[in-house]
Assembly symmetry: C2
Homo-oligomer: 266 residues x 2
């Protein structure tokens, strides 16, 4: 029964944030009468809200969700430093955490003049195709790395890394440099500079990035600011000092030409 | 059964974001075996996360909650303007919506040098005691106003308005001025300048505020910036132009001395 309640909630998505009862029933795979009853109970509690014959996620569920330590808790600690980074760069500043084989974005600050990006708070993108994703994957357990390397590695642009062997090298580079610079991997117009955020155990718990226009940007100029902000958030989270932590200037990740993206490249 | 699932989720709060199974069982008022089963199903889905024998709200529930239009949807539209306001003031910038007889905070940006405030994103405070709350209440339906006026009106400081007749006058002032300036009502150290945000139907859908130190602040100096940001967000939400909207300079709300706070003051 818990499953049925959750399937009703899972019927909603960023693409479909408002649904009719019939749509919820179909998307949740539940009979209309069951759906009607569950939706009624969820609405009475405030987990759903009704407007003009449609249902949407309610403020009460947002409130409960905001208690997730890896959501708003992390965000609250990080926010002043994200602000600092935003003030210096006036571009997009993002904070993401690992969930399955995706990076989930828990915060984004965007200037009105910043390059448009496809991410949104609460949204997710695969690890291999984004700067924050590569940082999270580079520091993840070997099992998860092998799972991602086993593919499929979806191509978003000609610059997305879709060759396992190359992805493996990139992950080693990111670990060594302590920063990931990705150019046009998910959208050709956007370049990302990303660095790891560590928790009190010293584990990488999140990744921070600045996303700037790909054209005419000196990516390495952003590296010190991104690295400093990531270290500041880590310190605020109680991370131990890492005197020997990676301090490379940042290698701009160069994907191979598209035609090499077959197994022969291994 | 939906009710039981929701009671498990409602067991978590900002004060108690991590709970053991026994604590969840007690707070939800459910037998341990039932709690164990529901918690297991919620954890399998990602609505709860387990760490070191404790449960906390999971990232998946945060993701679903982030779909609430009055939560992150509103926030995404408002964010660039909140950023602008923050850059001008370097203090606390807050955005709140109405829920029951509370103001629920959907966003807060705080400078590192800003006055400390007790609010947090996802938190709630009563309408009569905060700047954003008075703005929301001033524009709310008559039924809700009467419900709040009927009390009880909890006292937070000597400056909290706890006299119904005075609250009624304040609400009229706020409607006329188009802005609420509250000094020390919830914490003596903080002063708030708040203005309404309207949606496409022209209804007040949120309230925006800047919270600054009470001491040594010229509150009225903040009024134009707060008003401009609130209008800009309203416009982004599709609100109709309001050429005749209130443009008072803002009256600093003066509560009566504490000893008047009994019915004789009516």
């Amino acid at each position: 029964m818990t499953e049925r309640v959750l399937s009703v909630l899972a019927a909603f998505s960023a693409e479909r944030p408002e649904l009719t009862l019939t749509e919820i029933s179909r998307r949740a795979g539940l009979p209309l009468t069951t759906t009607h009853r569950i939706v009624g109970e969820l609405a009475a509690w405030g987990a759903l809200e009704r407007q003009a014959g449609c249902y949407r996620i309610g403020l009460r569920l947002w409130e409960v969700g905001s208690l997730a330590p890896r959501g708003l808790g992390l965000r609250e600690t990080a926010m002043p430093f994200l602000e600092d980074l935003y003030e210096v760069t006036r571009q997009n500043v993002q904070l993401a955490v690992l969930d399955g084989t995706d990076a989930v974005y828990v915060e984004r600050i965007s200037g009105r003049g910043a390059v448009n990006v496809i991410t949104r708070v609460g949204g997710r993108l695969p690890l291999h195709a984004t700067g924050v994703g590569l940082v999270l994957l580079a520091h993840a357990g070997a099992d998860l790395q092998e799972q991602v390397l086993a593919g499929p590695l979806r191509r978003y642009t000609a610059k997305t890394i879709c060759v396992p062997a190359q992805l493996r090298r990139v992950l080693a580079d990111v670990r060594r440099e302590g920063v990931a610079i990705t150019d046009g991997m998910i959208e050709l117009i956007a370049l990302s500079i990303a660095a790891p955020v560590r928790d009190a155990r010293g584990d990488v718990t999140a990744a921070l990035s600045v996303v700037v226009p790909s054209e005419g940007t000196d990516a390495r100029a952003y590296v010190p600011a991104v690295r400093a902000a990531a270290r500041a958030i880590s310190r605020a989270l109680g991370a131990p000092d890492r005197p020997r932590s990676a301090v490379g200037g940042g290698i701009i990740i160069q994907p191979p030409p598209v035609q090499e993206s077959h197994d022969a490249a291994l």
